[in-house]
Symmetry: C2
Subunit: 166 residues, 2 copies
């Protein structure tokens, strides 16, 4: 395998949220329950939103544009031990791609009201996929180092500044 | 919002699967149950795999490199009506980004044996995220046009050639 060229991937819109700095953001949508914001899609893509409002949830794919430089080993927010970046959700990943499954409240032309947010204001959006529980849920598996945090209340769980690029 | 520049996103590896042509591929990992393949990560990222083997599932983010040109309205494999691209999982999306949650069988240096596959052989990999059911599952929501397919057996569900770029 040789060094790959950069792919032609461009923002299709922007995610507006109440979070203006990298520290203090919910670590996952579960921790950001009830927090609202919106997607402003580029107008030329508005037609692609038809029937999205039939889904209660969608998975957003976005660019972690303010993450610190990539690292292969990190200590994630929810642990005090180091893990490989691909065994964590830390933003310091190659390609800085983030995913979050959020609640869809309302679709109006090129704007979508969303809830349960864990991303910073101004995040560049790359894709929107409808969530289908039958396809997307997984049950009864193992969750590695996160097993020990199972069942804890994570609603107040917030980031600190360890992964900021500023 | 002005036209966004292309982001610096490059393949971190490749996904090897038994599927050599775009037609006949499982439409989702659920339909590709038991189908095995592997990830060959670029060697310089191998260190980032530490502790991934503790997870039974991971969500792969990849480039739908052989998809047809993007379209804003499509008739998806699982329906006979047209929907907005962002209300479907069709590969004809802007940015051609795909996601699939697969089973992790074994991690060995820069190679990962995986199962429940629905992507074509040679797919460029962009990211690997550990799956944590407590964060990633969603229950009791609405699934739009897919509601009517709920509970059906989808294990044999395969693509045809409508989205091929060839």
């Amino acid at each position: 395998m040789t060094g790959g060229d950069s792919l032609d991937i461009r923002p299709i819109g922007v995610i507006r949220t109440p979070f203006e700095s990298v520290a203090g953001i919910p670590v996952q949508p579960l921790s950001g329950k009830g927090i609202r914001g919106k997607i402003i899609l580029r107008e030329e893509y508005a037609e692609g939103l038809k029937d999205l409002d039939g889904f209660s949830h969608a998975t957003l794919i976005y660019h972690l544009h303010r993450a610190a430089a990539p690292a292969l080993r990190v200590v994630p927010f929810m642990d005090d031990e180091e893990h490989g970046i691909f065994a964590t959700r830390s933003p310091r990943r190659p390609n800085r791609i983030g995913i979050s499954t959020v609640r869809i409240l309302k679709v109006d032309k090129n704007e979508i009201e969303i809830e349960d947010l864990d991303m910073i204001d101004g995040t560049p959006l790359l894709d929107i996929k409808p969530f289908f529980p039958e396809f997307d849920n997984r049950h009864g598996g193992r969750a590695g180092w996160l097993e020990k945090r199972k069942g804890e209340n994570k609603e107040g769980c917030r980031s600190d500044d360890r992964f900021t690029g500023e």
